[in-house]
Symmetry: C2
Subunit: 308 residues, 2 copies
């Protein structure tokens, strides 16, 4: 481990603790929430889904991108936590019996295993809603134009043309709705929608909060796209190489389901070269930011070198 | 049928056509949606869920409440359609096998019957996302403060402390998580969360769009609460009295599941008196608006007198 990696990990872990505390507050029993009390079972399932684990990479990206533009403090932490809530909802629904049918997530029972299917569906639904509530709340930023921009960005990244659409394509790729042979461009599109769009928005949200000008925002989005693509290729490599124990979830699932990944099309070495190319692309997008963007350069390296 | 009812029905039907056209445009294949194309199967399932039926009561309330404050045009139609998308998502998820396990909705196969369970879950998810996207979009209103207010209001009405929380309580009321005996106050709270909160927000959204002052907004919210409560008592009465054919869905479900309703606690005649009381309460809330609010007075009567 190089000294730089060690510093990066420390900063990532430190941010994860702040995110955990923010999520804990948002999902606290005594949180204000209109007049109605919150049903205990649903609340417990949402807490199971959102608390106690994860690298919190998405909020980290929001917070560091905001810092690049001089924005520090609660706003980025809340916006990043909203993206994390959205991400957690997607994991809960993806794990359901009718989708990927997973029993383990981060080494713990998935929500439908710890509770039941109906509760898991509702917990995911309410986590999605809470993500938008947090972004639209004045506590996130005093400027309503900025809040609307955040809501719109998260919605576009996570709906039909983004994350949920990508999950639909992913289920189709298993052949459950008829035989599908995807080429490289189609796999890339699926991955950009399913995971890339939210990762890209995580970074863009920081630029929005930091009131970046149009050109700087475009550069940051370009960085986010390269990072998102690198994340997914690295995920495919991990799925092929790592053990279930290290990942805290089943591995080799894609192969089991006969689903083509970039590793199949490019080979293991080819996929690793692709990761290297994407890291360079991410660096290039940050060229104009100099030393200030060092942590984001390290983030994309962390993403491709991670072991879980 | 009184002449007034006939006029009201005509106006409701006319608005439903405008809403249908708006939803059709929002769910059109060629709609702009970032760079990514929309997966055809998911889009088809969302269209199945959202198009081709329903009284469109929620958008009607938004549009008529906005008109009360002099706001006409696209904004209320889009905001009302967003509430309808949210409502449609909740129906898709409520119908799922692990929830109410319904095969029919508005006389047609439910989404998980017409497609499959995974597709239905994703279609519901993406309909929720689209609702927030529409509200945050500048096309709904040029003022970002107003848009943020709409997003926040819909999120609060539909999440943990509102609709989704109410559905969780409703599942618990069936006894699936242990025996539950609900008293009248608990049933009212469940109903206020499950259906009342969104109906109330439908009306409040009109006040937001019409830039109503705080006092007028409170009056309209009070009207919405009475209407929401009346809607649910009327629903309980219908569930007991009407035929499956007329409703286009199964009836007597609550009794089947051993779930207590207000009809059980108050009796059929008591429930009908309660409806009458709620209509008066809705009228009283509108007292300050004079003749202009006549259509909203008729709306609450329509809600309690409807046959489907």
């Amino acid at each position: 481990m190089t000294p730089s990696t060690s510093t990066f990990s420390a900063r990532l872990n430190q941010t994860a603790k702040l995110v955990e505390a923010t999520l804990e507050a948002l999902l606290a029993d005594n949180a204000r929430h209109g007049e109605a009390a919150r049903p205990a079972r649903l609340m417990a399932a949402m807490r199971h889904a959102a608390l106690g684990g994860g690298k919190r990479l998405r909020p980290f990206l929001t917070i560091e991108a905001a810092r690049l533009f001089g924005s520090e403090g609660q706003g980025a932490l809340r916006a990043g936590s909203a993206v994390e809530l959205l991400h957690c909802y997607s994991l809960v629904h993806d794990d359901l019996p009718s989708m990927d049918d997973d029993d383990l997530r981060r080494g713990r029972p998935t929500v439908h295993r710890a509770y039941d299917e109906a509760t898991a569906i509702l917990a995911g639904d309410a986590l999605q809603t809470l993500a938008f509530e947090v972004l639209a709340s004045p506590e996130t930023d005093a400027d309503p134009a900025l809040r609307s921009d955040l809501v719109l960005g998260l919605a576009r990244a996570s709906g039909l043309g983004g994350m949920v659409g990508g999950q639909m394509l992913d289920l189709s790729a298993e052949g459950r709705y008829g035989s599908v042979a995807m080429d490289e461009a189609e796999i890339r599109r699926l991955q950009m929608m399913k995971t890339g769009a939210i990762l890209t928005f995580s970074v863009e949200a920081g630029a929005i909060l930091g009131r970046a000008d149009a050109s700087a925002r475009r550069s940051v989005v370009e960085y986010g796209r390269a990072l998102g693509a690198a994340f997914q290729v690295a995920d495919d490599i991990l799925d092929r190489e790592a053990s279930a124990e290290a990942l805290g979830k089943r591995t080799g699932k894609d192969r089991e389901k006969g689903k083509a990944t970039l590793v199949d099309l490019l080979g293991l070495e080819g996929a690793k070269r692709e990761c290297g190319r994407l890291v360079e692309q991410a660096d290039a997008a940050l060229a104009g930011f100099g030393e200030k963007a060092q942590i984001l350069r390290e983030a994309v390296r962390f993403v491709v070198e991670r072991e879980v």
